[in-house]
Symmetry: C2
Subunit: 447 residues, 2 copies
Amino acid sequence: MTQSPADLLITGCTALVHDGQEEIEFLEDASIVVRGGVIEAISDDVRGLDAVEHIDARGQVAMPGLINCHTHSPMVALRGIAEDLPAEEWFNDYIWPIESNLTEKDVELGARLACAEMIRGGVTCFADHYFSMDTVAAVTAESGLRAHLGQAFFSSQGAQGREKSLEFALRHRGGADGRITTALAPHAPYTVDDADLAATAELAREHGLPVHLHASESRDQTDNSLARHGLTPIEVLDRTGLLDTELLIAHGTGIIDRDLPVLERATGQVAVATAPRGYLKFAWDPTPVRALRGIGVPVGLATDGAASNNSLDVWESMALTSLVQKSAEGDPRWLTSRQALHHATLQSARAVGLGERIGSLARGRRADIILVDLTGPHTQPVHDLAATLVHSARSSDVRTTIVDGRVLMRNRELLTLDLPSTVRELGERLPALVDRGHGRRIQEYDT
Amino acid sequence: MTQSPADLLITGCTALVHDGQEEIEFLEDASIVVRGGVIEAISDDVRGLDAVEHIDARGQVAMPGLINCHTHSPMVALRGIAEDLPAEEWFNDYIWPIESNLTEKDVELGARLACAEMIRGGVTCFADHYFSMDTVAAVTAESGLRAHLGQAFFSSQGAQGREKSLEFALRHRGGADGRITTALAPHAPYTVDDADLAATAELAREHGLPVHLHASESRDQTDNSLARHGLTPIEVLDRTGLLDTELLIAHGTGIIDRDLPVLERATGQVAVATAPRGYLKFAWDPTPVRALRGIGVPVGLATDGAASNNSLDVWESMALTSLVQKSAEGDPRWLTSRQALHHATLQSARAVGLGERIGSLARGRRADIILVDLTGPHTQPVHDLAATLVHSARSSDVRTTIVDGRVLMRNRELLTLDLPSTVRELGERLPALVDRGHGRRIQEYDT
């Protein structure tokens, strides 16, 4: 360890780390030394080390920042607008008509509100798949968060949709001091035709870009795809070459047994993001996490947009993944708290293509760190720290959120974003945003 | 309205009230006047009214305090001690061996920690079913909470168990300035024999006491009961006369179609408490809320003990009830946010026998009120306030908790209980409490 002042020193915490077999371990009374945005050391002895900024984290757990592996951040503007509806009505009668009103300013305010919510909830990185992504990139830069961004497109936009998605991905790759990574972002196999998907796969390979899309979102989609094409959505991804790219599949609740060997051939390139709350709301099956685990496909945690999930609370996604998987598999021993924490850390980092850079508190990783306060009555006593984190703690117990060594929230106070003005400005725009009197919609949900 | 100073005046809030058909309504810019522990008025005009205590609740929602309809409060001491296990192992290998070590002091500290957690989570009343209930009653009095208490017993204790449960119920009824109500508390039909259940039913009728017990907790219990006795657990309650008492059934996830006409005959006397988190963890079915609704049986919200639920977070039980019911029924339109709020308010109040006293913000009801802050980024904007409350807000958004007009938490600060000393003292006792080396257990789980 060099002895010049570190940028940031966190002392006295219990640190969640991974051992050589990726098992979760907890280091008591640990110190974390950050320099140049990177974790330089995790140590039990930092005597004599100075730091520009020092956080005394006694009574707190330091863990890798949460990663929201699939969201549409500006949709926080539509939180609660379309409740208690099947997915078809949710899309066709509310979301897609309303999204035809969307302006750059709405996206800016929505993304800023979303970043505020995520920082407060201990999220340090989010994978966003939406429109007007230049604006989301600008808000990401402003917020201090890390993000994996893709400009969404439908085939109804013609070749221009795909070209704009590529142009965005190339222009913003490495943006925000390296915190922004990018992906090509076709919407889904039911809104992007096979030729367009195949062209996307080619562009991805040519430019070394990952692809982020919705696929096999529900069992209905799989059944409809089989009826129309004789292929499942996963088989469509295979046939169009997308499984030969670095691919992030959102949801995958409609993945069936015949998809597993197809996905297995793509192991190492493909990952799935699961957002369990919305599946319960839409009465969809859960993502088949156990089957995906069996073939080595990482499953990252996500919230989807707040218009279906009602929050961007990845902590809740972690708890729900454990609860729902136990229930779905009929097995209380499955998806333990340590497994849930593995999904929340390394598997989520891999899902967004950052498996070597974030997702673990280890020397050389980017310093994306959250500090979680366990002194509240709901988290005491602690018999099993992994269980306390997954099943007793809440996102509101995150006190400090750090990305690339920069503190974005300290003692629950947001340091980079102005929440009250964002809420006020967004509120003024809502009547125009949610108007559906025009009868337009940006797309038709018909899988 | 009398014009002498009120005890408490809450102004500027949005108040959750019920209309004549029990539909949820929200009154904007409402004021709540409290006098003598009772809501004297909910008004939009309190000009000229003085009050001893005034809370400016602009930006907050006032709603009836949450009711935890079934818990074992001292079990917070065992939070996280037995994870990822089927119910049999959870009981036989961990909980019942550990509970054989339980002392009065453990119960006192556990109950105090539980009350702190509940007050912080917006719970104003809890139904507790445990041992050493004199101690729980004393902590209830100290905490300022309202409680419905029963001294649990097994038939393995002989007639003495039942007699002690009766003695407790008679002695504490009306305690803590009327905040304590009591019940007879046989453990369950699989641990209390038919003669003992029948004797309990008789005592209940003789003394005008309600009965609170576990029954039909899982489908396995129902199947085992059918195999052994040819009767479901609900039919056992019927045969032993318990359905002729005011009866609170915890869980009921094993309630099957043939139980419905049996329960329907007891409508008005019987209620079920649902604690959905633990059912997911144990891979049990959910409580059949829709079927119970069909026959008019109220379903109150609960957490069970924290040894299975990991928290006493009734707010989470409310959200999970909505989510799990949609999923289980395969119907996104079922169990709307307004329905969830009805379960959390009037149905929960009825479940604990307090349907005329609490569960609604209305003139003449006891002033059990919580104030919920919706200014956080995760609860903005508000398109549908019921959805915001159920699906976006969290228990940590409760800022103020009031019981009988007395403020127990103000701006998240606990006013009646000393949390740090409770956690410290409990921590010192844990090694002795969790020791299982003795090989004893208080009971055998064998349904």
